[in-house]
């Protein structure tokens, strides 16, 4: 049994793990197949029936412009998932590499890199995000790279800390004594040993990035209308909430169920890998 398979089995052993994985898979599958299963065109307007409540024909009701809320909710996670999945991958790769290198090298290199990381972390991400989008536009590629870059900074810290725990171990010393190159030591010796912590971190980063992406859309800097997006939908329908709550409700449920799913999954993952384990020995 491979390590990944065993981990998966452990995650699925707990109820929260099952629910989390089910929610995440549901959303990913939905994002892939939704263009073929939605009942209406997401842009089609029903001219007279804006703000109509849920009915048999329109399960989620209609929004301000008379568009089907259910259809738009099904489609609204596509861009968010695309950007955040690749964004997380980018963040994990560059963050881990830099973090491991920093922790392994130590000394002044490490000191310098850590101060640089501190500097970046001191600036609110949202402001940096808005700055980049203002200068380079909000295309999917720009969003992926920017989110990937910003969220990788936190990964540097984690990967460095995990690496520090490993570099003093004799197997790293043995590899150095053998004359292995730095990158072989990092990737073949250390990475497999800090993989668990990185996996959990990836899941957490993903959920944070989703929130950030939705916040961007909410502020009007993420997805360009009329493309359906949860953040955007919430922002647009928010002012009519006392009058017509349904255009806000469905995207809210969709977004929070995905984020809860990811968090449950990350939690179960951390538990199954023993990363949250408390000292159980008597003393």
């Amino acid at each position: 049994m491979s390590g990944a398979e065993q981990t998966m089995r452990l995650v699925l052993r707990s109820t929260s793990g099952k629910v989390g994985v089910a929610l995440v898979i549901f959303h990913i599958v939905l994002a892939i197949v939704s263009p073929w299963v939605v009942p209406y065109d997401f842009n089609a307007q029903s001219e007279v029936l804006e703000h109509m409540g849920p009915s048999l024909a329109h399960w989620g009701g209609l929004d301000t412009l008379g568009r089907d809320v259910f259809t738009r909710t099904l489609l609204g996670g596509r861009e968010a998932l695309l950007v955040t999945i690749f964004g997380t991958a980018i963040a994990m790769v560059w963050g881990s590499l830099f973090g491991m290198f920093s922790g392994f090298k130590g000394g002044r290199t490490d000191e310098f890199m850590m101060r640089a990381v501190d500097t970046f972390l001191a600036i609110p991400f949202m402001i940096l995000l808005l700055l980049v989008i203002a200068s380079f536009g909000n295309s999917v590629i720009v969003l992926m790279l920017t989110l990937g870059f910003l969220y990788g900074i936190g990964v540097i810290r984690l990967a460095r800390a995990a690496t520090l725990g490993e570099v003093t171990k004799d197997y790293v010393l043995a590899a150095q004594a053998r004359g292995e190159s730095v990158w072989v030591i990092l990737l073949a010796e250390i990475l497999p040993n800090i993989r668990d912590a990185l996996m959990v971190e990836a899941a957490m980063r993903w959920s944070w990035m989703l929130l950030a992406f939705s916040a961007l859309s909410f502020l009007g800097f993420g997805v360009t209308p009329p493309t359906p997006d949860w953040g955007l939908m919430i922002a647009n329908a928010r002012i009519y909430m006392p009058l017509a709550p349904w255009p806000v409700l469905l995207p809210m449920i969709a977004l929070s169920s995905l984020i809860i799913g990811i968090n449950l999954m990350a939690d179960a993952l951390a538990k199954s890998l023993g990363l949250d384990r408390v000292q159980r020995m008597p003393l």
């Binding site: 171990k169 197997y171 993989r195 008597p282």
Partner: protein, 601 residues
């Protein structure tokens, strides 16, 4: 004192095997302990001694459960207590001193905070008088300068001090029973002796009962009145400590005692093949039968019972047989062959220092501290030099320098008269790298836990030689055979091997590059005695078969004596005495060497 303090009746602890049959780790153990008495549990790793000890605290490793039997400790069954009572019970009436005190102390809390916590949980003392009590406890465990210690973190204490702090913490609740799980295993001989003396004193003075688990029967002998020898989860011999140490009756006890190298005695290791075999707990007959040299037909059929035999209880049906054929311990250290007088490794005036290089280049100069001072030695091909010294004497610094991982040092070191060992590892040629290899102290740490044995052995082959995949496979097979491991093991991960097997893999990895010199850094200190004996035997074989030159670093004098041809004694970074092994051990001249030899149990 009518009721015994501890009474164990037919206790079995185990897990459910893959086929649904219960596999006992501890099997049918009966034990009693009276107030104020001391009992040792001895056996090699995996015999169930720690499991038994932890069960006394009501703690079972995950997957383990009590299968049968009763435990009554102070009239209570720790397995039946609820969480809250258990918490009071642990640390209150019963205290555990774990194997590695350094890891048992919380690294991020100062000693003071941890001591206060222990007192708060386990004594009714008011907060104001806790401070005095700590000083009292520290005085009791003979920790000097307590006021200074309190403000430090655990890593700022030495191993002996950490062990004393753990002891003080355990004594905080005035326990009636102390459970000790290999408390001195990681300590060097002089520290170990001091801690043991302290433990015996505490046992005598305060009438605290002790259950002392160790693989080292010598350690048990120094502290305990009675000893129970365990094998495969069963007690095979139980009786007064000095009786059993002097006249072991059970064949396993005999083998265990004979596998400890002793000073002043030529070391002969008996039955090297039997040692590697695992302990099979499912045999219908005697568990020790597969390894026993006195095995008879009844042994295989019927499980022996613990029966009274004169002054002790022994679990063996062949006792009278054994008494008749007492084998005289023989054998002598083979003369090492001289293969010409070629210096394979010459070290000249080597000094190692630890510089505190910070951001400021000027401030660091004064902080220079020499850990090794002008050390020189030469090793002839095929010979073994033993480098002996306590922890902190600079042994490991010398090895680190030779392997090229030390940054600041002065002096000369030449390998095979052509390779300069003062170049750091990153700038060494492959030829040079392959000629000198190192085996580390602890195989748990020196093997990557996420790398299969095959991958670990293939790495050096890929670095040093251009080999095709089938050639690598053949080479790995050769290496596994050289260290006497079956090839099937190559698919396993280090966690699936025992400590001794892991160290064999580490040795195999070092041999992969076909080195001329092998540096061994305390490679047996993390292993228990019988495994240690088999590793020493392996190194001897390899030395003879391949003409290896060894630099063997250890704090364990008997081990060095069993293996080395020459020996150099290090004290505070300087060689204070060196010469042939026999000469040094029979007539030590330097007072430090004399004290080292005396300190050995």
């Amino acid at each position: 004192m009518s009721l015994p303090l501890l009474k164990i009746d037919g206790l079995s602890i185990g897990y459910e095997g893959a086929d649904g049959v219960a596999v006992p780790i501890v099997n049918q153990v009966d034990l009693q302990l009276e107030e104020g008495s001391t009992l040792g549990l001895v056996g090699e790793s995996g015999c169930g001694k720690s499991t038994l000890l932890l069960a006394l605290m009501g703690y079972y490793d995950s997957g383990l459960a009590r299968l049968a039997g009763k435990v009554a400790l102070l009239g209570k069954d720790p397995g039946a207590l609820n969480e809250a009572d258990l918490q009071l019970f642990r640390g209150g009436d019963v205290a555990l001193i774990p194997q590695n005190a350094g890891q048992a102390l919380t690294p991020t809390l100062k000693i003071e905070a941890q001591m206060l916590e222990a007192l708060r949980l386990h004594t009714p003392l008011p907060a104001a008088s806790r401070q005095d009590r700590i000083l009292q406890l520290f005085d009791r465990v003979q920790l000097p300068d307590p006021a200074n210690l309190l403000g430090r973190y655990p890593h700022e204490l030495s191993g002996g001090q950490q062990q004393r702090v753990a002891l003080a913490m355990a004594l905080a609740g005035n326990p009636k029973v102390l459970l000790l799980d290999e408390p001195t295993t990681g300590l060097d001989v002089t520290t170990q002796q001091a801690v043991l003396a302290l433990l015996s004193e505490i046992a005598l003075e305060s009438q605290t009962a002790m259950v002392f688990v160790s693989h080292d029967i010598g350690v048990i002998g120094a502290v305990c009145e009675r000893v129970a020898v365990m094998y495969a989860g069963e007690i095979v011999e139980l009786g007064a400590c000095n009786q059993i140490l002097q006249h072991p009756r059970h064949p396993y006890t005999q083998a265990l005692l004979s596998s400890i190298p002793k000073l002043g005695q030529a070391w002969a290791f008996k039955a090297p093949t039997s040692i590697q075999q695992g302990q099979d707990r499912r045999l219908s007959g005697c568990a020790y039968a597969p390894r026993c040299e006195y095995v008879g037909p009844t042994c295989l059929k019927q499980k022996p019972r613990l029966t009274r035999d004169q002054d002790r209880e022994v679990k063996c049906v062949q006792l009278s047989e054994i008494a008749r054929m007492v084998a005289p311990a023989g054998g002598h250290k083979g003369e090492s062959k001289m293969v010409g007088q070629e210096y394979v490794l010459s070290v000249n005036n080597l000094s190692v220092s630890y510089d505190h290089t910070g951001w400021w280049p000027f401030a660091s100069r004064q902080e220079r501290k020499l850990t090794v001072r002008e050390v020189s030695f030469d090793i002839v091909r095929g010979q073994t030099l033993g480098l002996v010294g306590e922890s902190g004497s600079g042994k490991s610094s010398i090895l680190r320098t030779l392997i090229g991982l030390q940054k600041s040092f002065e002096g000369e070191a030449l390998l095979l008269d052509k390779f300069d060992l003062t170049t750091p590892v990153a700038h060494r040629s492959k030829a040079c790298l392959s000629k000198i290899q190192m085996v580390f102290q602890n195989p748990d740490a020196s093997l990557n836990p996420r790398q299969s044995i095959f991958a670990a052995l293939a790495r050096p082959l890929r670095i040093y030689f251009r080999l095709s995949e089938p050639e690598i496979r053949a080479e790995v097979e050769r290496l596994m055979a050289a260290v006497q491991l079956p090839m099937e093991y190559s698919a396993r991960y280090p966690g699936q091997l025992s400590g001794g097997e892991r160290q064999r893999v580490a040795i195999a990895r070092a041999l992969a590059s076909k080195p001329d010199v092998l540096l061994c850094d305390e490679i047996t200190s993390a292993l228990d005695v019988s495994v240690q004996a088999s590793i020493i035997q392996l190194l001897k074989d390899l030395k003879d078969a391949q003409g290896l030159t060894l630099l063997f670093v250890s704090h364990d004098l008997p081990v060095v004596m069993a293996l080395a041809d020459d020996v150099a004694i290090l004290q505070r970074g300087q060689i204070c005495e060196s010469g042939r092994v026999e000469q040094i051990f029979n007539a030590p001249e330097h007072p430090y060497t004399q004290s080292l030899i005396k300190a050995v149990l």
